[in-house]
């Protein structure tokens, strides 16, 4: 129902730049997830969209109207806070009705809206309780209900699940996904640091890093075709392995000679002028598979193994002062610790990064 346009959005506190050059188009009905490491400004960006933080540069448009200087209440947004932010002295019903009462709607309208939202969130029997008599999950549902009653054009979620325990988090995540499905025309922006939430909920993910946007794309885009090393390592767990090498053959199938002389092949196309270029190959731990010496791309001594049942994680001894290479092999593997293991990966699973940027995008 509502498009959002962010044009060169910037935020600075005095001399300190927190965000700059944020350009983003959000289409109506999308569920956009902002992810990024702590302190990357994702919550700040959300609060700027909400109108709780002043935008110090650029333009924000909701539905084609510039709203930089419009107060939060008139932007057609509703926000769900990380800490729930329920009004502790009001019952669930009054909490949900608060915004409508402020907007001077009629009693019947308010009641109907509250009842409808309560039914949707299974809160009907708690309507007359105070927030302190509710569990964490119920409080979060009230907070979501408070947003729904206002029937906003854009929903904003600020890490809504981070205060819930693991089981409840999964359940509430699914509820949010269902909520989105029941309101397909509503735009939602969701901030989280949990990449599982990002991968499962998002129609598109915005990875924020280093004061700007690192990449925007669908979850699988980010996973399969990361634009840069940051996104490559941020999405996926454990993080993607980066191993330095040099391009020794170019073309549709590139050949990279790694430090230890092993030749790895990647389906990322390279040009003639790339010959001899220093690159990092990127391999996800789950893309490694045991191999013979012939087509290997990595050999190392296993320092630690972690058996999780469905998979076994191998941590190799670090080489050349870099982070330890990690491999994730399906099934249970015993007796690998201390032994030397050779691994390979399919050419289309091997990413190439030069100066931190993927060679796929240029």
């Amino acid at each position: 129902m509502a498009d959002l346009k962010l044009r060169d959005i910037a935020k600075s506190y005095g001399e300190v730049n927190v965000l700059k050059d944020i350009d983003l188009d959000i289409k109506a009905g999308e569920l956009i997830v902002f992810v990024g490491p702590s302190g990357c400004g994702k919550s700040t960006l959300l609060r700027m969209i909400a109108g709780l933080e002043k935008i110090t540069g650029g333009d924000l448009e909701i539905d084609g109207v510039r709203v930089n200087d419009v107060p939060p209440a008139n932007r057609g947004i509703a926000m769900v806070f990380q800490s729930y932010a329920l009004y502790p002295h009001m019952t669930v019903r009054d909490n949900m009705a608060f915004a409508l009462k402020i907007a001077k709607q009629s009693k019947d309208e308010i009641n109907a809206a509250v009842e409808k939202a309560a039914k949707m969130l299974q809160l009907t029997e708690y309507l007359d309780r105070l927030p302190k008599a509710l569990s964490g999950g119920q409080r979060q549902r009230v907070a979501i209900g408070r947003a729904i009653v206002r029937d906003p054009k854009v929903f904003l979620f600020d890490e809504p699940l981070s205060n819930l325990d693991a089981a409840l988090r999964v359940a509430t995540r699914i509820e949010i996904a269902q909520l989105k499905e029941s309101m397909p025309d509503r735009t939602m922006i969701y901030v989280t640091h949990d990449q599982v939430e990002a991968m499962t909920l998002a129609s598109r993910i915005v990875v924020l890093a280093n004061k700007g946007i690192a990449q925007v794309g669908t979850p699988l885009d980010l996973y399969e075709r990361p634009e840069n090393e940051f996104v490559a390592q941020f999405i996926g767990s454990p993080a993607m392995n980066l191993i330095p090498g040099e391009i020794t053959a170019t073309g549709a199938l590139s050949e990279v000679t790694l430090e230890n002389g092993v030749k790895a092949h990647s389906s990322v196309p390279t040009r003639d002028e790339d010959l001899g270029r220093k690159v990092n190959i990127g391999v996800r731990p789950e893309d490694f598979k045991p191999a013979g010496a012939a087509d290997s791309c990595f050999t190392g001594k296993v320092a630690i193994t972690e058996k999780l049942g469905e998979v076994t994680l191998l941590y190799f001894e670090p080489q050349g002062g870099r982070e330890a290479v990690i491999a994730k092999l399906p099934g249970v593997h015993n007796g690998l610790r201390g032994t030397s293991v050779t691994l390979s990966a399919d050419p289309d699973k091997i990413h190439l990064f030069a100066d931190g940027r993927s060679l796929l995008y240029r």
Binding site: A73, N74, Y84, L86, Y87, H89, L130, P131
Partner: protein, 385 residues
Amino acid sequence: MSAIAGQKSRLTWAVNISVVLLVVAWLVPTVGLLVSSFRTTDQISQSGWWDAAFPVEKAFRDRVSADGETQSNGLYVLSGDLLTNGQNAADLKPGTKIKAFGTSGIKPGAYKAGTSADLGDGGTLTINSDGTYTASSPTSFDGSGPRVYFEAELPPAFTLANYREVLFSDGMGQAFLNTLTVTIPATIIPILVAAFAAYALAWMQFPGRGLLIAAVVGLLVVPLQLALVPLLRLHLEIGIGQSFLGIWLAHTGFGLPLAIYLLRNYMVGLPRDIIESAKVDGATDFQIFMKIVLPLSFPALASFAIFQFLWVWNDLLVAKVFLPANDGSKVMTVKIADDLLGSRGGDWGILAAAAFVSIAVPLLVFFSMQRYLVRGLLAGSVKGG
């Protein structure tokens, strides 16, 4: 925070002992005052309030009445009852016991009650502990009974006379009403003003906010005595003069720095998310203040109300300066200081009753408001709350 607040300190015993000491230190004089206010001046001067439940010994002088002399066995006899017919009958309540008596002022307690004293010339005097006496003499008493001295044990006596006098006959009732007239507006006005100011200083952005807060903190340490004379002159010049309106304004001014400081510190501690959530919900600053911040600040409002109420109620200085000196507008503290301590400094019963009347209302206020001082009003609003 809950980890720190919930932890049992190893010094719990020290806390408990201090609390007990404090309670004792405050309760003992209060109870003493209460007990004294029910005793007569005589009893207060004879024994401490802790002896109030026990009899008081007091010495009396009397002369046996010579009326009704009879003759028996050749002796002239006088008999009667010292408690009901003697000169001290007014002081000797029923139940008084005579412990000892004597016939000269040098040895007033020479004989135990019930024994006979030698009056000389064959005369004897017997006084029983219930006050009945028999004096006999071989010669006629001739209209002049013997002088007697006796030590009597007065039973404990409690009386409401002090209160009756203080409340109804001494103008204290008017003073009580005056104190209420001063105290109630002087409590409400500063709270009303300070709550608005505190919200603005805590949650509204405007230039100079930090300076204003600093100024309020600075005003906290200015002694009010400094302002008495200039303020009174100002009141006289603008026509308020010495009046109730003047004292309301004075107390409001003197109370505001503390009120703003206390309330602002409380309000600034309210969860930011709640206030922002209300903003997103479309509430104006005024609506946020009225519907969210004010109800949640109730404990702080109650604390300050108690502070201000007690301070204004017990205030003597400001009342002396800002109220006219005529009898009709004296508050209780002035009344006690001027009338009771001045002209009746020895009348401890009245003083104690007056003092107790003046602390009764603050006690009432404290006990009725103290339940609002409990914490936990924010429970359930934000995580961990």
